[in-house]
């Protein structure tokens, strides 16, 4: 008699386990939607800001009144938003189960936005030279050297950007913007085009393109970055 009860209990426990486990999976699915929405919202905002900046720059150029004090904060906002997109994609993309393709789409979109921003800074630098220096950072997913390079760049840029003014409040140098791109991402031909233009070997990732013309393969430590930027500043 007891045996029958216990067998029944094992079955009901199994059903209960499936129900609870499925509820976790269902909530995960719901949250995956919220996560993609969150990233998408920042992307949409960033797109609008980029678009607005583009129009503003064209307008100011047309009326021959390009003013770096107006443009620089706009660039800063776009740069900050791009950084946020990158962080959110990294944070949520790894735990997504059901929206892998959506996150893949967002990742591609993010890379394109970064390259668009790269071009935008190029145009901006023509009039406001020295305000922003871009670093295109090509990394390899799940690679220790790339991870280390990422941390070195984070710390170097944080210090560099915090130290833009001297003791008298005068501007010492501009800021750095890092744009990180998966160097082995094969779903967008644009990345391959950029890499082949700069002769970046996918076998030797990570790689950096600093200020459009300085190219480095492999791990670049902080001291080397400092040396490179000393040269960049005196160009």
């Amino acid at each position: 008699m007891k045996e029958r009860y216990v067998r029944h209990m094992l079955v009901t426990s199994f059903i209960a386990a499936i129900v609870i486990f499925s509820s976790g999976v269902m909530i995960g699915w719901m949250f995956d939607g919220l996560r993609t929405d969150e990233v998408l919202n920042i992307i949409k905002n960033n797109e609008l800001n980029s678009e607005s900046y583009n129009i503003e720059q064209t307008f100011l150029e047309n009326v021959d009144n390009v003013d770096c004090t107006i443009m620089t904060p706009r660039i800063e906002t776009i740069s900050k938003e791009l950084g946020e997109v990158g962080q959110e994609l990294q944070r949520y993309g790894s735990i997504s189960d059901f929206k892998k393709s959506d996150f893949d789409y967002l990742k591609r979109k993010y890379f394109l936005m970064e390259i668009k921003f790269y071009n935008l800074i190029y145009r901006y630098q023509e009039t406001c030279k020295g305000e922003y220096t871009p670093i295109l950072y090509f990394y390899k997913v799940d690679d220790d050297t790339s991870e280390t390079q990422g941390y070195i760049l984070d710390e170097f840029v944080r210090r560099y950007n915090d130290d833009t003014e001297n003791e008298n409040g005068e501007t010492k140098h501009g800021k750095i913007v890092v744009l990180s791109i998966d160097g082995l991402y094969d779903k967008d031909p644009l990345i391959k085009t950029i890499m082949s233009t700069y002769e970046i070997d996918p076998e030797k990732l990570p790689a950096l393109i600093i200020d459009y013309d300085t190219i480095r393969h492999g791990l670049v430590d902080r001291e080397e970055l400092e040396n490179i930027f000393n040269i960049v500043l005196h160009k």
């Binding site: 007891k2 045996e3 976790g24 944070r91 949520y92 220790d144 941390y151």
Partner: protein, 416 residues
């Protein structure tokens, strides 16, 4: 790959947690019932104390049996000194005046020592008491009630820890509390397959019929072996959670590891010896569920430890890369998230099962305290020991399991 293993572990853990809680409710009356003692039921008992170099504890063990609340003419005490090289026999002999019988033999192992006492026993029940156990006054009166049921061949008592001042000892207290509730649940479904040597009572006739204790010195857990043998003969083993016996536990990490390795190697040995019972429908729930589950638990504990350690190593790698190579100051390490980001970062398919498992674990511990009547120790030391028991102990067990498996695979000599 790791993610799938984690999901499987989370699901199995969730399923088992629900089973134990379900069983607790299903058997609520039987498990929690305070037994009424039938004062007229007083079967005759032989207490056998096998002892090897137990000069520090033997006197206390004998004295605790002499002090039990049970008619003196209804029980006998036989100390079998298994070739001790210290004063164990001498100390035991001091109790001869109280009727304690002392038999000295050459060192042949615990099984052999127990069999010497068993062959002499003419009593209805045969009790095995480790020479470092201390029986509570009422325990025997409570535990013998189980033998009113003619189907019961053996019964064990709850084990409480005698020495629990050090953190390492307090950690083991939680292990013993969990063991008590799980043994009761196993016994409730007729699947208890261990009768700890601390205090286990058997029907003498059934023990003799089953072929007595295993004297093979390769078998270092004779208490597990005899229970498996009784189960293989379809005998019922009960567990009396309200009957309490105190035991002396290892007080250093080294001794704990040594004891666990002995237990685990003994389990592997006996699991192989009685492999025919696994997945055998003749043994019903025990064969089809509990024994395979035990093997699965070993796999789960080892694999989950590997997963956790790989996570910890990733953490160290992160710190090394960020702090040493990238020279990032420590205050920059913490990624401050908004509440929304924190909620969105939760992995619900793992965290929901984990929450249920944690709550079930805490509930079982609470129930174990409640049923055995042991008060919950909320001292700072005990709370720290509990945290360590949750965080560190599974790794320690995984390490002992892995090492035991390696030793067994290599065919290394089993030692007590």
């Amino acid at each position: 790959m790791l993610e799938y293993i984690m999901l499987i572990i989370a699901f199995v853990g969730l399923y088992l947690s629900i089973i134990w809680i379900n069983l607790l409710f299903l058997g609520k009356e039987e498990i929690e019932e305070k037994k009424k003692i039938d004062k007229s039921y007083l079967p005759e008992i032989t207490f056998a104390i096998p002892a090897y170099n137990e000069e520090k504890t033997i006197a206390g063990t004998i004295q605790s049996i002499l002090d039990i609340d049970y008619p003196k003419d209804r029980y006998e005490i036989i100390v079998v000194d298994d070739g001790s090289t210290d004063n164990t026999a001498k100390i035991a002999e001091q109790y001869k005046k109280y009727g304690v019988k002392v038999i000295k033999t050459k060192n042949h192992g615990k099984g052999h020592a127990l069999n010497i006492a068993l062959k002499r026993s003419k009593k209805e029940l045969f009790t095995c008491v480790d020479a470092d156990s201390y029986i509570e006054k009422e325990s025997v009166k409570i535990i013998v009630q189980n033998f009113m049921n003619k189907k019961v061949s053996g019964c064990s008592s709850s084990i409480f820890v005698k020495n629990n001042s050090k953190i390492i000892e307090k950690m083991q207290v939680f292990e013993y509390m969990y063991a008590a509730i799980f043994r009761k649940l196993f016994a409730f479904i007729g699947c208890l397959f261990v009768t700890p040597g601390v205090l286990s009572i058997y029907r003498t006739e059934d023990l003799k019929e089953a072929g007595m204790f295993d004297e093979d010195r390769n078998n270092i857990t004779e208490d597990l072996e005899i229970a498996m043998r009784l189960q293989s003969l379809h005998k019922y083993i009960a567990f009396d959670i309200q009957s309490i016996t105190y035991t002396t536990i290892p007080d250093t990490l080294k001794k704990v590891i040594r004891q666990r390795i002995r237990w685990f190697r003994g389990y592997i040995y006996n699991a192989r010896k009685y492999r025919h019972m696994h997945l055998n429908k003749d043994y019903e729930l025990l064969g089809l569920f509990i024994l395979p589950l035990n093997i699965a638990s070993v796999i789960i504990i080892i694999s989950s430890t590997i997963i956790i350690w790989s996570g910890i190593l990733d953490g160290f790698k992160y710190i090394y890369q960020k702090a040493i190579i990238a020279k990032t100051p420590l205050y920059e390490f913490i990624d401050i998230l908004t509440l929304k980001q924190m909620i969105l970062t939760i992995d619900f398919k793992i965290s929901i099962p984990l929450t249920v498992i944690t709550l079930a674990g805490l509930y079982l511990l609470y129930k174990s305290h409640k049923i055995t009547g042991k008060s919950i120790d909320i001292s700072a030391k005990s709370i720290l020991a509990f945290i360590l028991f949750i965080v560190v102990y599974p790794w320690l067990l995984a390490l002992c399991w892995t090492y035991s498996l390696i030793l067994e695979a290599k065919g290394s000599k089993r030692e007590w």
